[in-house]
């Protein structure tokens, strides 16, 4: 597991950040020229981070928003210029726009669920935290972050998953870099509170 490798070696493993690396310029140029395989490289690099970000901020429609985001990205791909950091910033900016569009649409046309679900059946925060404690899986971690306030969750996901620096995140959210740092710090503190004062011990016996 990547987490165990990361904890043992104290470094990064194959994660959601910057997979393409130095070849990004060539890959992008080929994709813009119509090379489907090179576009797939870009997609495999960014889609997991995109899905995790969207699942943290909009769990109910993450896949739909991600698909819509990629359609927009493909249609504007030939007009994009920039490095990999700019590429990721553009991708997540587009995703956030689609997210806001969907939020507006749902506010205008609220959907009625077909099945009646009682509040007792809904997942509660302790349950979500317990899932994270038990599995420490990525989904559980995303579920924990989704319990944070919206902006704090977005800051953490954009900083951690998308690998964007503070200034870029500030630009995406329309906040100042200092505000982004404050929100990140508060989000981490809240995650600590959710994990408990004694920390969390994973199945592998690692205390987080």
């Amino acid at each position: 597991m990547c987490l165990d490798l990361w904890l043992r070696e104290g470094g990064q493993c194959a994660d959601t950040q910057h997979v393409v690396g130095d070849d990004f310029e060539r890959v992008l140029a080929d994709a813009q020229g119509g090379n489907e395989d090179q576009f797939a490289v870009l997609w495999r690099d960014a889609n997991p981070a995109l899905l995790r970000y969207l699942r943290a901020v909009a769990p109910e429609g993450a896949e739909d928003i991600a698909a819509e985001t990629w359609v927009h990205v493909v249609r504007g791909l030939t007009r994009f210029t920039g490095d990999e950091a700019a590429w990721r910033a553009w991708l997540f900016t587009t995703a956030r726009r689609r997210l806001l569009d969907q939020v507006r649409m749902r506010s205008r046309h609220p959907a009625e669920p077909l099945d009646e679900v009682t509040p007792a059946e809904l997942p509660r925060t302790p349950d979500t935290a317990q899932i994270a404690l038990d599995n420490l899986a990525t989904e559980a971690a995303v579920a924990m972050v989704s319990q944070l306030p919206q902006l704090q969750a977005e800051v953490i996901m954009l900083r951690v998953v998308a690998g964007l620096d503070t200034d870029v995140v500030a630009g995406i959210l329309g906040k100042s870099p200092g505000n982004v740092r404050v929100m990140a710090h508060r989000g981490l503190k809240r995650l600590e509170t959710m994990l408990g004062p004694a920390g969390v011990t994973s199945r592998a016996g690692v205390t987080l």
Binding site: E36, R44, G76, D165, V168, G174, S202
Partner: protein
């Protein structure tokens, strides 16, 4: 900066550094490993799960749909037109307006559908060419033509009034014609022709010359005034000038040149009018004379010569 703030700032910088290292997963940094939530953040950036890559086929299909016709050979049939090759440099500062309609990011414009069949969509109204005017300056030319026609009509009416009046008497117009308007003159001219004029002349000022006295006497003959004393005064003066009341008519005919008017076409000359009446305001003017006289002629039934005079305008 006070020295007392340096340790605090240094502590804050250290915490900020730890925070950045934790969020970015910086390798080998202690805080990135030993922070209580480091494991959660590591799980967030874990390797992709298989379900997160399930949509690759759909993404490839979307890529082929939108991109391959553009990269392929020319002439490939595709429902969408190629996207414009506009350089849209992405920069982090441009994402501040995310979600707004005026967002500066690379917004994709839907391709315009190609016209199908013989029916073509009508272009928008502002794109249609304007219908050209039949010819430029249309209203200005029409207005000028109308004005010229009106002037001709007025002139003809004035001439008609002058010719149809009971007698052209030079220098007479200066007495009463000035206040009259052109339209009124034309109306009186028409009335003169038709013989239905009913307007009465206003009493003239006291005549000072034989011609003026004769004009005044003719007016009194044609339009008997209510004040008989004025008429009597004029007639007495003319009687003295003519040498008797019975000679007034002959005297005025000679003084006004009416005895030569019928056979002398050159007598109708226009111009300044009677030199004797030249001291009258507006005396002798061609247009004024005709218009004034025609207005006063009325039906012409009581002209001194027994009929409408046609050339009696020549002054002497």
């Amino acid at each position: 900066m006070p020295d007392s703030q340096l340790p605090i700032q240094g502590l804050a910088s250290q915490r900020e550094r730890d925070l950045d290292a934790l969020l970015s997963g910086e390798a080998g940094y202690p805080a990135a490993v030993h922070w209580p939530v480091a494991g959660v953040l590591a799980a967030l950036r874990a390797a992709p799960a298989p379900d997160e890559l399930d949509g690759e086929a759909a993404a490839r299909a979307a890529f082929r749909f939108f991109m391959l016709p553009e990269a392929g050979p020319a002439g490939d049939a595709h429902p969408s037109a190629p996207l414009p090759q506009v350089s849209a440099q992405f920069h982090p500062g441009a994402v501040a307006g995310a979600g707004r309609p005026d967002e500066p990011g690379p917004t994709v414009v839907l391709p315009r559908a190609a016209p199908r069949g013989p029916r073509h969509a009508r272009p928008p109204r502002h794109a249609r060419p304007r219908r050209p005017a039949p010819w430029p300056g249309r209203w200005q030319v029409m207005a000028a033509a109308g004005g010229a026609a009106a002037a001709v009509i007025v002139g003809v009416a004035a001439l008609a009034g002058a010719f149809s009046g009971p007698g052209g008497q030079p220098g007479r117009s200066g007495l009463r014609s000035t206040p009259q308007s052109t339209s009124a003159s034309s109306h009186r001219a028409t009335s003169s022709v038709l013989g239905t004029a009913t307007a009465r002349p206003t009493p003239p000022p006291t005549p000072v010359s034989p011609q003026a006295l004769c004009h005044q006497a003719m007016d009194y003959v044609m339009h008997p005034p209510a004040n008989r004393s004025a008429e009597d005064a004029v007639m007495q003066q003319l009687s003295k000038l003519a040498g008797g009341q019975s000679r007034i008519v002959g005297y005025c005919v000679r003084r006004l040149g009416l005895d030569r008017a019928h056979g002398d076409k050159a007598g109708f000359q226009g111009g300044p009018g009677d030199p004797a009446a030249g001291n009258q305001p507006g005396g002798g003017g061609f247009g004024d004379h005709g218009a004034s006289w025609s207005g006063r002629a009325g039906s012409g039934a009581r002209s001194l010569s027994g009929g409408p005079l046609r050339a009696g305008r020549t002054g002497r």
